[in-house]
C-alpha cells in the first residue's frame, strides 16, 4: 500500500471527513512529513472508491462551496488493518535486529 493511500485510510478510520479535512489530517498523522495535494488526493480517492474501500458519506454546502464527506468501508478497514499488521511485523523485526526492541512501538 502506498503512503498516500495509507494516510487517507488512516484519516478516515477516525470518522467521515471531507477532502480538505483529509489533507490536513494526513499532514498531522505524518507529522507534517507528507502533504497530500488535491491531484494526488482525488486520484487516490477515485481509485479507493472504485475498489470499494471508501464511499461517499454526505454532502454539505459551506460558504457556497460543495463539501463531500467520505467514509471508510468495512473492506477498507480490513485492508488498513492488514497493512498495520504487516508494517508492525516489519518494524518489530527491524527493531529487534537493531537492538532497540521496545524502544519503538
Amino acid at each position: 500500500m502506498q503512503e498516500p493511500t495509507f494516510l487517507i485510510l488512516t484519516a478516515l478510520a477516525a470518522g467521515p471527513q471531507h477532502g480538505y479535512g483529509i489533507m490536513t489530517d494526513a499532514a498531522r498523522i505524518s507529522a507534517g512529513r507528507v502533504r497530500l495535494r488535491a491531484g494526488t488526493l482525488y486520484a487516490a480517492l477515485d481509485r479507493l472508491r472504485a475498489e470499494g474501500l471508501v464511499e461517499t458519506d454526505r454532502e454539505e454546502i459551506v460558504d457556497a462551496r460543495l463539501r463531500r464527506y467520505y467514509r471508510i468501508t468495512a473492506e477498507g478497514s480490513a485492508r488498513l488493518e492488514a497493512e498495520v499488521r504487516r508494517l508492525r511485523a516489519n518494524t518489530a523485526a527491524a527493531a529487534a535486529r537493531l537492538g532497540i526492541a521496545g524502544g519503538l512501538a
Binding site: 488535491a38 482525488y42 486520484a43 463531500r68
Partner: protein, 389 residues
C-alpha cells in the same frame, strides 16, 4: 472612514485574486475525464482554494503539476479497466445500431475482400481466356499467385474464420492481410496508386476494424439470416467472376467509345506498357485492353454496388444505412479512378491506371481515410451528445 475604505478595498482585491485563482485551477480541471469533473470539480476547487487560503494565495505550480499527474492517473486507470474488459474493444461501441452494423460488416466485408482478391488476381480473366482461347491474360497468375499471398490466402482465410464465428482469430488474419498487403505492394504492384490494391487495402482494413469492434460475427449472421448471407456470398462470387472479364457488358460499353479516343489511348499505352497483355502486336487486342481496363473499374464498382444492394435488401433500416456508409469508404478509390480515367481518355488519351504520382496516392488513400475518420468522429460526437442530453 478611511479605515473602512481601505478594508473594503482589501476585501475586493482578495475576492478578485480568489476569482482569478479559481479560474486558473478550473482550467486545469478541464483535463479530467468528463464524468470525474461532473462529480468532483466543485469539490476540488473548494479544496484547492482552501489549501491556498492557508497562507499561499498565489497559483501554486506544484499543485498544478499534481493536478496534471492526478488527471493522468485517473485517465490511465479508466483506460486500464477498459482494456481489461473481456469484450474490449467491442465494448467501446455503445450505439447498438453501430454495433449491429459492424457485426453485419464483419460478415459482409470478408466476403467482399475475397471478391476484391479474385478480381485483383485476375482469376476470372484467366479462366475465361483458357475457356475461349483469347483475350487478355493479366500478369497476376503469370507472375505466380504466390507473390500475392495476402490476397490468395489471407482473404479467403479471413472470410472462412469470420463465417466460422472465430472473431478474434479472424481479426488477426485480417490484420496480417492488411499489413502484409501494404508491405508487399511496392514489390508486386510497383506502386500504391493501383485502384484494385487501394480497394483491397481498404476492404481488409475495414474487415479488421469490423471484426475487432463488432460484438460477434454470429450477431451479423443472425441479422442477415442464412439466406441473406448466402445471397451476399453468392452475389459477391458471381460478381467477382464477372469483373474484368470480356463477359462483362461494361467492356463493350467502353469499347463503343469513339474510335479516335481509343486509338490515341492505345498508342500511348503500348508505349508506356503499363497494362499487361499477352498479345501486344495485334491492334485489335490492344484496343480491347484499353477499353476493358476502364471496364474493369466500372465492373468492380458495379460488383460492389450489387453486393451493397443485396446487403440493404436484407438489412433495412438504421443498421443497413450504417453498413452502406462503411461500404462508401472502399468505393471511393473506384469512383475516383473511373472518373479520372474517363477524363483522361477524353482529352489526354491516356487510359489505364493512373500514374504512380503522389497526387493519385493521396486521393486514393487520403479521401477514404478521411471519410473513415469522419464516420468515427461523428459516431463519437453523437454518443457524447446522447450521453449528456
Amino acid at each position: 472612514m478611511s479605515d473602512r475604505a481601505a478594508w473594503r478595498h482589501e476585501q475586493l482585491r482578495r475576492e478578485y485574486r480568489q476569482e482569478r485563482l479559481e479560474r486558473r485551477y478550473r482550467r486545469l480541471l478541464a483535463l479530467y475525464p468528463a464524468d470525474h469533473r461532473r462529480e468532483h470539480a466543485e469539490e476540488m476547487v473548494g479544496v484547492l482554494l482552501a489549501a491556498a487560503a492557508d497562507g499561499r494565495r498565489r497559483f501554486d505550480v506544484a499543485d498544478a503539476a499534481d493536478l496534471l499527474a492526478g488527471a493522468a492517473r485517473i485517465r490511465m486507470r479508466i483506460v486500464g479497466s477498459r482494456l481489461r474488459d473481456p469484450r474490449w474493444p467491442a465494448s467501446s461501441v455503445c450505439d447498438p445500431r453501430w454495433s449491429d452494423a459492424l457485426a453485419a460488416a464483419s460478415v459482409v466485408f470478408p466476403l467482399l475482400l475475397v471478391v476484391a482478391a479474385l478480381s485483383e488476381m485476375g482469376l476470372p480473366q484467366t479462366w475465361e481466356s483458357q475457356l475461349t482461347g483469347q483475350g487478355a491474360v493479366p500478369g497476376a497468375l503469370a507472375d505466380g499467385y504466390l507473390t500475392m499471398w495476402p490476397l490468395t490466402f489471407g482473404a479467403p482465410l479471413t472470410a472462412l474464420l469470420a463465417l466460422l464465428r472465430l472473431r478474434r482469430v479472424a481479426a488477426c488474419a485480417a490484420l496480417v492481410t492488411t499489413v502484409s498487403l501494404i508491405a508487399i505492394a511496392p514489390s508486386v504492384w510497383g506502386t500504391y496508386s493501383d485502384p484494385g490494391l487501394a480497394l483491397a487495402v481498404f476492404l481488409s482494413c475495414l474487415t479488421t476494424g469490423a471484426l475487432c469492434f463488432s460484438a460477434d460475427p454470429a450477431r451479423g449472421l443472425t441479422l442477415l439470416r442464412w439466406w441473406g448471407t448466402a445471397s451476399v456470398a453468392g452475389g459477391a462470387l458471381v460478381m467477382s467472376g464477372l469483373t474484368g472479364g470480356t463477359m462483362w457488358p461494361c467492356c463493350y460499353l467502353a469499347a463503343s467509345l469513339p474510335r479516335s479516343m481509343q486509338s490515341a489511348g492505345t498508342s500511348l499505352q503500348a508505349a508506356s506498357s503499363t497494362v499487361v497483355t499477352v498479345n501486344t502486336t495485334s491492334a485489335t487486342s490492344e484496343t480491347f485492353v484499353s477499353a476493358s481496363s476502364i471496364g474493369n473499374e466500372i465492373a468492380a464498382m458495379v460488383a460492389i454496388g450489387v453486393v451493397a444492394l443485396v446487403t440493404i435488401i436484407f438489412l433495412r433500416g438504421p443498421v443497413g444505412r450504417r453498413v452502406m456508409v462503411l461500404l462508401l469508404v472502399p468505393a471511393i478509390p473506384y469512383v475516383f479512378i473511373v472518373l479520372s480515367n474517363f477524363e483522361s481518355l477524353s482529352y489526354a488519351g491516356i487510359s489505364g491506371l493512373p500514374s504512380s504520382d503522389a497526387y493519385s496516392v493521396l486521393l486514393l488513400y487520403l479521401l477514404p481515410g478521411l471519410l473513415l475518420v469522419m464516420i468515427v468522429a461523428v459516431a463519437r460526437i453523437r454518443r457524447r451528445r446522447a450521453r449528456s442530453g
